[in-house]
Symmetry: C2
Subunit: 399 residues, 2 copies
């Protein structure tokens, strides 16, 4: 049996494996790309906005013509015309001239600012301007938002609302994205075959949990069902998962016998890389490679299975899609009570944020899952750390 | 024209309207319910776990039989049998007896704790226990996770990973969820009809942005396209949206002329409720009711359209689905620089969190959208507040 390894070592092992699985990409209409991951850097082929635009309703001007204007001594400009929305102005602005313009209208050549209609009076082809404007005032210049040639979005970025807006602004449609990772999910254990009318049986929580977690990450979950602790049945299912998917997630009872069977099956189809993770929860985790694809044997306790998914499987899926970074930085908060830890494993605890803004651990027993619905996030206690004292700042991560 | 109203007033108006639109519900397989919103409270029809379970591999015991046990004076128990995984024990545990049990196994009647196999030796039908256990130790009792009869999940809760796990644990499949809100999206403006080969034209950002934002909230976006500032075309499209959807989002150029046309169309099909929001960005927002359904006229500037969606349309969609609360509490951080504000409108600013954990505003011009891809969240400056001084704590909200 291989040694227990740390989470950092496990993440290094699985991301290295992902690097050896060259990802497939596809082109999707922008309207279907939400939640997918960009397969290459997006360079701006044009400026956004494409031309200098007014940000107000009013008059396009040469700013210097307004210098010194005031309520009692307005600048007096000739109205050279009106700029139709959505069209290029048919004229240039010369000294002493202005042009009627609406918000979003294209500045005529010669103009470098706009004055708000509220600060003007117009009569007999003349416009009185009561306030000076600086060059560039009330104008968005071509390229102010995104400059032609710049990298607007990096490869590996997940396409959310902001990314969709940038892609639309640049006219990038269809969008090159990574194919969704396909991940097989298999639940094992004599006790979870679903016959809950029989005492001793429990419902399969992990199968649904892992499929939902995959869906939430934009992966395609392929549920292979729940099978009893039968070597031949598990072997057949894992082989099917390896053949048809990018990765396989088994989760089984947490008993030593079940884990041994997982190890045995992985070694029949490939080889076990590590057996045991120095993290709590999550110790009884097995990881192997079969046919070049990762097979994760996750703990049977749902909360442990969740944390190993979150902290080891997710980095693998992200690495498979160009290394999409975590969506949000962890927030730093004080812990509201002393949190002991003395078992030499890296520990992860669900916390809620109390009314004082402090992180308070949600104490749980093994096998309990409903705590996840009450948690605002989780904290990490490093290995060989005796705990966190009340009042200490620590990072709270998103579940 | 109606007065400018505050965001709080706007949210009150749209949620009141939602209360008058009785939501439809449907039953979905649990495997398809991810991201949907629960249409009723979920009560636990059974205990989770359904029976007392061991959380370790070892022996089920009567705890009192181990009291006083130590390394030099082990408790000596008779092994009454082995408990098969997934089955009810065929025997009870009497005084002085223990039973071999695996993690997840069902405790036999009489047992109230489990000892880890590492703390035992077994020979000739006897088990030597080297450490005492307290009643309940290494055991999850029936109902420890979820107690029969309790409300496990509230109506209006969005079904994420944790909720899926709880539903699976309780065997709730299919799941009662609200029908997805159907929301029509229409872009208006002579400048955004998509002919970007012509100077003065820009690409339609808001249409894609709003559809993505709706998708992200689990709503169904129905894109009606981009139409020029033509009263008849806009009227036809809005009427189609009102007829086929729960709500209509128009977003147009930000010029006064475009807004007037939106107001005119809404008043033809129904009536405008407010015109102008005392928030920045987002002032040029129109809201009306046509055929009992809300019609939002959002600003043309994409960032402004986004903030009005986030802060006014989203509460409407949440109210329509039982009032699902915001998914995460805002985090409280210090601001890294003085942030002035003196315009009498409630202001919202994109911020990034710097390496010191401080919120730093991302300054932008009107019409700029790429800032959303660089922001870690946004902050709020109340009306009639002169700004936020560097070092002050403020809430950072999720975009």
């Amino acid at each position: 049996m291989l040694d227990v390894i740390t989470r950092d070592e496990a993440v290094a092992a699985v991301t290295e494996l992902a690097a050896g699985q060259p990802p497939e990409t596809e082109l999707l209409p922008l309207s279907q790309a939400f939640g997918r991951v960009l397969a290459r850097d997006v360079r701006a082929g044009e400026n956004v906005p494409p031309f200098d635009r007014s940000t107000v309703d009013g008059y396009a001007v040469r700013a210097e013509d307004t210098f010194g204007a005031g309520a009692s001594i307005p600048a007096q400009l000739d109205v050279a015309g009106e700029i139709p929305m959505g069209q290029a102005p048919a004229f240039s602005l010369h000294r002493g001239q202005c042009a009627r313009i609406a918000t979003g209208g294209m500045l005529p050549p010669g103009a470098d600012a706009a004055v708000m209609v509220e600060h003007t009076d117009a009569e007999h082809g003349l416009c009185l301007v009561y306030r000076p404007v600086a060059p560039g005032e009330n104008v968005t210049k071509a390229g102010d938002d995104i400059r032609q040639g710049q990298t607007a979005l990096p490869k590996g970025r997940r396409i959310g609302v902001a990314e969709t807006a940038v892609l639309a602004a640049l006219g990038i449609d269809p969008v090159p994205v990574f194919r969704k990772p396909r991940v097989a999910v298999l639940s094992t254990g004599d006790e979870i075959t679903g016959r809950t009318d029989r005492p001793g049986q429990i419902r399969d929580i992990n199968g649904a949990l892992l499929c939902a977690a995959l869906t939430g990450l934009g992966a395609e979950a392929v549920f292979l069902g729940a099978v009893p602790d039968d070597r031949a049945q598990i072997l057949r299912a894992v082989a099917e998962g390896v053949a048809s998917c990018d990765a396989v997630l088994l989760s089984g009872g947490s008993s030593a016998g079940t884990r041994d069977m997982t190890v045995d099956v992985i070694n029949e189809l490939g080889s076990v890389r590590f057996h045991g993770l120095a993290m709590k929860p999550g110790k009884p985790t097995v990881f192997g490679v079969c046919g070049g694809k990762p097979v994760f044997g996750l703990p049977g306790h749902p909360l442990a299975a969740y944390f190993v998914f979150r902290l080891v499987v997710r980095p693998y899926l992200e690495a498979l899609q160009g290394g999409a970074a975590e969506s949000a930085a962890a927030r730093v908060v004080r812990v509201g009570e002393n949190i002991p830890s003395n078992h030499g494993r890296e520990e992860f605890l669900c916390v809620r944020i109390n009314e004082k803004g402090e992180a308070v651990p949600l104490h749980t027993r093994s096998g309990v899952i409903s705590v996840l619905t009450k948690a605002d996030g989780f904290i990490r206690i490093p290995r060989n750390c005796e705990g966190i004292a009340a009042g200490t700042e620590t990072e709270v991560f998103e579940l």
